[in-house]
């Protein structure tokens, strides 16, 4: 066995170590609770940066691997990152300090619980990205739900309980069927280890087409709800609108990516045939999501809801890119996952700053805000431009790659999706115009303070990231490339080879080989 790296374990569980540290503080000691939470999350980001120098971009395999027995022989604690998950881990550790910073003054009640929830959620999300064991993955996957449920339910806005329950029931419904599928895979392959299962399905126990489609469906449903793919998106606007700012940032910034990441990591490599068969339908749903999300966002009168619907639209791009099965489009999709995390996270941060001042999200309550607070509004504009994919900014790279890749496969899809890109310019700029430009319409808004130093720091960090990712994209794509290629080889295997597996005798033989013991036939 190769040497075990502990780095990922440290990164995964460091935030959890902060929980006892916070528990020892007095509940009224708000300042130190915030400081320690922030210190932990910054330390976490710093440590996660150590992944970069150690990561070999040309190596398509999992790196920083740690693999130990956990429960019995089948269930392992197996973690590792490749070019796909590496940046998602970094995205998580990058956004968490910002989420903590933005809640500095806006959370007054149960402060300790709030920061504990954020730290727990960080551990769970990183755990999802680094898990290479299906059982471990599922444990972390479900663990992300509970702290988010509390974040929405306790610190959310007026209809928070409705939104929290809707959020958790939706997601649980998806994930429980995924659990059944995971168990089924275990019964076929006798392991929960992802690389082993992948190899087994490819060479040893090819799935009958119907079984493969069912298993694919169970996994895909769980991820599609999380993304969310149209028409499963209805939990999202409520959850986003009612969540506190930090909750929205984490939800939009990272948690939605759990869904697209899952599609990439599990749906395509494990069930390539089924994925190819389902791709036309999924592509259509993704396009509907892109256009529908954009149209609905245009007519929102609640600023936060508007941003929420942009997620439906933007993640439609990601799903489309994934299911175009093309190196460029998939790289674009991964890149767009990061972009969306930063831009939409940034938009929610900016909206949260407005909310802190006026305690409303209604667009008509604002107007002409560029006059009293030029810095905040220029930050808002900058992030909006990145979100609508202006060249030189990060959003442009991702969307462009996706559209090129998709165009090579389906020209019609690309043209429909491009209309979403146009619409995004409409709704974001129109929203900006109504919020920031013109005369100040509401008297109260004249005296609003501009961005504080803390808020300037947040906006500057986001803006730097946007510019950096816009101009230095090769730094990222270079590290993703080999993983993407390797992964596409798996995903495209029906076109390359392994057609013999569709012949009946080999399937039969495999079935017999699997069914070692006598079974009851219901």
């Amino acid at each position: 066995m190769q040497s075990q790296s502990l780095l990922l374990t440290v990164i995964t569980f460091l935030p959890l170590l902060g929980v006892p540290a916070l528990l020892f503080l007095r509940s009224e000691d708000h300042i130190w609770i915030r400081r320690i939470a922030l210190a932990i999350s910054i330390a976490e980001f710093g440590i996660s940066l150590f992944l970069l120098p150690g990561f070999a971009g040309a190596n398509p395999n999992y790196q920083f691997v740690e693999n130990r027995e956990w429960i019995g022989e089948a269930i392992h604690y197996h973690v590792g990152v490749d070019g796909i998950s590496l940046f998602l881990v970094l995205l998580t550790t990058f956004l968490t300090p910002l989420a903590i910073l933005c809640s500095w003054n806006s959370i007054h009640e149960k402060v300790k619980g709030f920061f504990i929830a954020i730290l727990v959620i960080e551990t769970a999300m990183i755990g999802v990205f680094v898990s290479l064991d299906l059982f471990l993955f599922f444990v972390f996957w479900e663990l992300t739900l509970i702290p988010m449920y509390f974040l929405i339910g306790i610190w959310g806005h007026d209809r928070r309980i409705y939104a929290a329950v809707k959020f958790i029931l939706y997601t649980m419904f998806g994930s429980i069927l995924m659990l059944v599928a995971i168990l089924w895979l275990y019964n076929l392959t006798n392991t929960f280890d992802l690389p082993t299962i992948q190899a087994a399905l490819q060479f040893r126990v090819p799935l009958p087409p119907r079984t493969e489609l069912l298993l694919f469906g169970a996994f895909f449903l769980a991820f599609a709800i999380k993304v969310p793919l149209f028409p499963l998106h209805t939990w999202l606007p409520d959850a986003h609108t009612e969540a506190p700012t930090a909750g929205s940032v984490i939800l939009a910034g990272v948690m939605l990516k759990l869904g697209t990441y899952g599609m990439l990591r599990f749906c395509l490599p494990l069930f390539p045939d089924a994925a190819h068969r389902a791709a036309p339908y999924i592509g259509v749903l993704a396009i509907i999501g892109i256009v529908y999300g954009a149209l609905v966002a245009t007519v929102q009168h609640d600023l936060k809801r508007l941003v929420a619907y942009t997620s439906v639209s933007h993640l439609g791009f990601v799903v489309l890119g994934i299911f175009a099965f093309n190196t460029i489009s998939i790289q674009g999709a991964i890149y767009q996952m990061l972009n969306h995390g930063i831009s939409t996270g940034g938009l929610f941060l900016a909206v949260g700053m407005l909310y802190d001042r006026r305690h409303t999200h209604e667009i008509k309550e604002f107007g002409g805000l560029a006059t009293p607070m030029p810095i905040l509004m220029s930050g808002f504009l900058f992030i909006s431009l990145s979100s609508l994919a202006l060249p030189l900014m990060n959003g442009f790279v991702g969307e462009f790659l996706i559209l090129i890749g998709v165009y090579q496969q389906h020209a019609a899809w690309a043209s429909w999706a491009a209309s979403g890109a146009v619409l995004s310019a409409i709704y974001l700029l129109w929203a900006y115009q109504r919020v920031a430009l013109g005369e100040v319409t509401v008297e109260k808004n004249r005296t609003l303070p501009d961005a504080s130093n803390r808020e300037r720091l947040i906006l500057a960090t986001i803006a730097t990231a946007i510019l950096f990712m816009g101009v230095a994209s090769p730094l990222f794509t270079r590290r993703m490339e080999s993983a993407t290629d390797n992964f596409l080889q798996h995903a495209n295997r029906p076109q390359n080879a392994s057609h013999p597996k569709l012949t009946l005798p080999s399937v039969k033989a495999a079935e017999v080989a699997i069914a070692g013991k006598d079974r009851i036939q219901p």
Partner: protein, 486 residues
């Protein structure tokens, strides 16, 4: 001094847990008259020590496994596993009863004695290798629990619970007895391994199948499998809360153990017949339990319905009828006992005197008033819901895995959907505790040390089973192998 034959010594060693429990029960009854009313809590501690001693004697019995008393009782890994679960559950229930009984003004010796006798009966159920012996164990545990259910004798609800439980329970045991008679008629024996041999030699006739059906009725009542679950919500709600904690966990574990022995070994040859009975019952049990729980506003009653739902999940593992399935049932029973006892013991405290505060709105804002108690309760609820990192999740996980392993796919899918329905009502309690404004009329009271200890043990156990289940799992597998399935 007359030498005791070695065989007799082995018999005593193998029955040691039951003997210890009964001795402590009698001891409590004898001490009771000499104590003043204010000092009766001591009896509870004697009872607790009795359960600990019984746990120790389980270890003692485990040193010398084998048949006892002419093969009426068997000590094998299987019966040892179930003994540990049952006795640990009643130890926790006793800890939870100490202050409850004082508060209700019903601190009496016979309470603890009855708990010990009931536990002894369940122990016999778990170890029985002969149907009439099993019947004795069933009656011992049932009659003790009938009385316990009515122990709050001034409360109308408690009386109702006792009477209902008694009348319906007597019917159920009568069915069980009738079933034994049929099987005896068909096979000429009541010893489980001999029944197995007889059925392997000659195909099972209508008489033995009918007998098995009647036994399913009798035992299905005890494990609250639908359609014999009607009594459970009323009884669980009416019985004193610590008794409910015991009722919901220990008898279920012991009866499931007996069911496994009868169905999976003796009647394994007709597995294709009883498979569908269990299959249908599992679907009914889960669905009725979960759907009815959705409509409850009383948390105790809601948890009662949730026990019905959980019986359904256990039946899912039951349908596997393989060693994997038996191990899954056993693991589930252990996890289930811990979380259910824990959840009901929390209600023991929260219900306050007279069990008045059991409605969901009574727990509004508990999270800020009693954070540790609320956190424990949430842990138990999340475990019942099946959240990863808790014992409840792994219980479900292994149950589903075992059933899928035997290709019982649709049942697992239905069970999975059911567990999402279940999420709704468990979460509602958490919503009340953490998301609602605190209720004004509730001032938190101090949680007694004994109850605190019981809750912490249950919580630690739930987490232990969720995070580091390997040891228990190996134990459960060894237990399943010792059943010598076909």
């Amino acid at each position: 001094m007359i030498p005791i034959p070695a065989e007799q010594l082995a018999n005593i060693q193998r029955l040691a847990p039951e003997i210890v429990l009964c001795v402590f029960g009698v001891l409590i009854m004898c001490t009771d008259p000499f104590l003043r009313a204010a000092n009766r809590k001591v009896l509870g501690w004697i009872g607790f020590i009795g359960t600990l001693a019984a746990l120790g004697s389980v270890w003692f019995a485990a040193q010398n496994p084998g048949p006892a008393y002419s093969n009426l009782i068997r000590v094998d890994q299987f019966s040892i596993f179930v003994h540990v679960v049952v006795i640990a559950a009643s130890a926790l229930a006793v800890l939870g009863s100490l202050n409850y009984l004082n508060a209700e003004g019903i601190q009496r010796g016979e309470y603890y004695a009855l708990v010990l006798f009931a536990t002894a009966g369940m122990g016999i159920l778990a170890g029985a290798n002969e149907l009439v012996t099993a019947f004795i164990g069933l009656e011992m545990s049932s009659i003790s629990t009938y009385i316990l259910a009515g122990f709050r004798r001034r409360a109308l609800q408690s009386n109702e619970a006792s009477l209902k439980y008694f009348i319906l329970g007597s019917f159920a045991t009568a069915f069980f007895l009738y079933g034994i008679a049929m099987i005896y008629g068909a096979t000429g024996t009541t010893q489980l391994d001999l029944v197995q041999h007889a059925l392997e030699a000659t195909p099972a006739g209508a008489l033995s199948i009918l007998g098995l059906g009647l036994i399913f009725v009798g035992l299905g009542f005890k494990v609250v499998a639908a359609p014999f679950q009607i009594y459970a919500p009323d009884v669980y709600e009416g019985a004193p809360t610590p008794v409910t904690a015991l009722l919901a966990s220990a008898p279920k574990a012991a009866t499931f153990a007996l069911m496994l022995r009868i169905f999976d070994t003796s009647f394994a040859t007709v597995g294709h017949l009883w498979f569908w009975a269990i299959w249908g019952s599992a679907i009914l049990t889960m669905s009725i339990g979960n759907l009815a729980a959705l409509a409850q506003t009383n948390v105790k009653r809601m948890l009662a319905y949730s026990s019905i739902a959980h019986a359904g999940y256990i039946l899912v593992a039951f349908t596997a009828s393989t060693a994997v399935g038996v191990a899954a049932v056993l693991f589930y029973l252990a996890a289930y006992a811990l979380m259910k006892v824990g959840a009901f013991l929390v209600l023991t405290h929260l219900g306050q005197q007279g069990e008045k505060r059991l409605e969901i709105q009574d727990y509004a804002g508990l999270g800020s008033k009693q954070p540790i108690l609320a956190a424990c309760f949430s842990l138990f609820l999340l475990s019942l819901l099946g959240l990863p990192a808790t014992g409840g999740f792994l219980g479900k996980f292994f149950a589903f895995q075992a059933a899928l392993d035997s290709r019982v796919v649709w049942l697992v899918v239905i069970a999975a959907i059911n567990s999402v329905i279940g999420a709704f009502y468990y979460l509602r309690v958490i919503v009340a505790m953490y998301f609602w404004e605190p209720s004004k009329d509730y001032t938190p009271t101090h949680v007694a040390p004994a109850l605190t200890a019981a809750l912490l043990i249950a919580a630690a156990g739930t987490l232990y089973l969720g995070l580091l289940p390997s040891r228990v799992l190996i134990f459960a597998k060894a237990a399943a192998d010792s059943l010598s399935l076909r």
